[in-house]
């Protein structure tokens, strides 16, 4: 009986019969390059994980007096206020995770195209058939796709842990945890969070792309090169014209996505009560978004081109 070698699978490289080279195996340079980024930069998930741990721990301490507070609040009977008070820690937890991940993303980008030149490993990467485009794309995918997913997963985990802590605290005082479960619309909140993260990621694309470009260009002090020009422009504008339009522009680029992506009920109440407040149509038709994406594409194209000429520092 002759053993038939298995047909090569598209998804597995272990199917080479008897270890003979099978060169038809499709390679996935982008996928492996993104994985490589996660191997190299463990802080991408370690830092948010630590912050999440701190949040869960902090909330556990606050849960000690929770039962009395909940009882007092229920006695007052102001359900709107009660609900707002109950939701607040969950919103703060999500915000903190998003902020942490933003900071992680900024420092990741500042180092992404710099460290490979600093440690000379660029000569190793360039010896493999992975184009500069694939490399730069794999590095921008991290803050635009991977980090938002990490922050979503962690925010959900943190919130679930908080619900668990609340329930334990309430049950141990003979109270029903049902108020928490029914008052906070978790699934709706998670949908809002996912949508918000996607909107924010697109809005921040030019920021990350700029940082990547600087990290591929500067020989040292990437942070200063990335930030100083903006500070200088603000100072010059302030001294020369006494205005602060540029600061406003920067603020808009950092947080300005919200009024486009969500329909708030007035400036004073930036809260989301129903899914009808998500306005993806309005967001996707906002010129500011597309202008930002265009600038991001230009920065990335420059970073790709720059990497062709770059060697070890």
């Amino acid at each position: 009986m002759t053993a038939q070698p298995n047909p090569p699978s598209l998804f597995s490289e272990n199917s080479k019969p008897n270890g003979l080279p099978f060169y038809g195996v499709p390679t996935r340079p982008l996928y492996w390059s993104v994985r490589r980024e996660l191997w190299e930069n463990r802080s991408l998930y370690m830092a948010p994980l630590i912050v999440a741990g701190v949040q869960v721990f902090g909330f556990a301490i606050s849960a000690i007096g929770l039962a009395e507070r909940r009882r007092a609040a229920l006695a007052l009977g102001d359900l709107v206020k009660l609900r707002a008070g109950m939701e607040q820690p969950y919103d703060i937890a999500a915000m903190m995770t998003i902020f942490t991940v933003f900071v992680v993303g900024v420092f990741y980008c500042l180092d992404a195209l710099h460290s490979e030149r600093r440690d000379r490993s660029i000569l190793f990467w360039k010896s493999l058939p992975v184009s500069d485009l694939t490399t730069v794309l794999s590095k921008v995918i991290v803050p635009l796709v991977v980090l938002p997913l990490i922050s979503f997963a962690l925010a959900v985990c943190v919130q679930l842990s908080m619900v668990l802590e609340t329930s334990v605290a309430l049950i141990s005082h003979g109270m029903s945890p049902a108020t928490t479960w029914t008052f906070i619309p978790f699934f709706q909140d998670w949908l809002v969070l996912l949508y918000g993260l996607a909107a924010l990621s697109l809005w921040h694309a030019p920021i990350y792309s700029w940082l990547l470009l600087v990290s591929g260009w500067a020989r040292r002090a990437t942070f200063l090169w990335a930030v100083l020009p903006f500070i200088a422009i603000q100072i010059i504008e302030k001294i020369a014209f006494g205005t602060a339009h540029f600061s406003a522009f920067l603020g808009h680029r950092l947080m300005g996505f919200a009024p486009h992506a969500f329909g708030f009920h007035g400036e004073a109440h930036p809260t989301i009560e129903s899914l009808s407040q998500l306005t993806p149509g309005k967001y996707l038709s906002s010129p500011d978004l597309w202008l930002g994406l265009l600038v991001a594409a230009a920065f990335l194209a420059a970073a790709v081109r720059l990497r062709r000429y770059r060697g070890p520092i």
């Binding site: 390679t27 340079p29 994985r35 000379r120 000569l123 992975v130």
Partner: protein
């Protein structure tokens, strides 16, 4: 089709000319040693061949323009551009995964086979390996790639003699065949003398000598001249003279062996001797090479 063909290859960094109109042709199946003092243009030439730097003039590698067609070229070319360029944070298993994931011509089983002959553990990080082990790892990865051209720029710098010997032994025994081409630069010229099929000296951006090893062996002879024959020997126009233990060693180009045998003891010169003779006009080049070969 030659593996590499260059005509009038030029490269300047500001006012410094790194390559000054280089013409070269490397046929398939050769092992070429590119020898030159520091700053001679070796690395620039290799960078141009590998598409790492733009250049002026004509250059084709495996029928492609390395600068404009770099991405396709890298499927058929591999290189070790220096020692210690493996990322230090990477695990050995990750290096295998990654190269297998991105390189269509990488044979993982082969790489695993090479690694199993070493003491390198799959779970080790590159930073935990000794310099010699990192070189072994890199060589195992590179030898498992079915490339047509392999470029090695100082691949054994700073390694001890055992590793260096082993490095070239595996390259010859486990990797090289007539369909592959290898270019190697090194300062430890003597060690690769028997490995090479071709020899090229480069100095100040120009190729100053180009010959096959057969040619080298038939053309160049060195004679330790008996003192009484010194005048007679000098009449045959040696290209270089150096004193050894109070006697003169003269290097001849193209003088028949029988003619030299009567003058003293004839032997095959080393590449280093020929290098010093060729670069003789430049004192710095000699000092350079002496200090570098002195390391070994």
């Amino acid at each position: 089709m030659p593996c590499i063909e260059a005509r009038g290859l030029r490269k300047a960094y500001g006012s410094t000319i790194a390559l000054d109109g280089v013409d070269l042709r490397v046929e398939e199946g050769r092992i070429l040693g590119l020898i030159g003092p520091n700053g001679a243009g070796k690395t620039t030439a290799l960078d141009a061949i590998l598409g790492l730097t733009p250049y002026e003039g004509q250059l084709t590698v495996l029928g492609r323009d390395p600068w404009s067609a770099r991405d396709e070229l890298m499927r058929d070319v591999s290189f070790i551009a220096d020692v210690a360029v493996m990322p230090r944070w990477m695990r050995v298993s990750q290096a295998l995964d990654y190269v297998a994931g991105v390189h269509p011509r990488f044979d993982r089983a082969k790489a695993e086979g090479f690694l199993s002959r070493t003491t390198i553990k799959r779970t080790s990080k590159v930073r935990e390996l000794s310099k010699g082990m990192v070189a072994q790892l890199h060589l195992a990865l590179v030898m498992a790639i079915d490339a047509k051209l392999l470029v090695l720029d100082e691949p054994t710098l700073g390694l001890d003699i055992l590793f260096r010997k082993q490095f070239y032994d595996s390259l010859l025994n486990d990797y090289f065949d007539k369909s592959r081409t290898i270019i190697v630069t090194t300062h430890q010229v003597e060690e690769i003398q028997d490995v090479l099929t071709d020899l090229m000296f480069i100095d100040r951006g120009r190729i100053v000598l180009e010959c096959s090893m057969e040619e080298f062996e038939s053309r160049y002879l060195e004679v330790m001249v008996n003192p009484e024959h010194l005048a007679e020997a000098k009449a045959l126009k040696p290209i270089h003279e150096r004193p050894v233990f109070g006697r003169s060693v003269l290097l001849f180009d193209g003088v028949p062996r029988e003619q030299l045998a009567v003058l003293g003891e004839v032997r095959r010169p080393s590449i280093a001797d020929l290098f010093v003779a060729t670069m003789g006009s430049t004192q710095s080049a000699i000092r350079n090479l002496k200090s570098e070969t002195g390391q070994s």
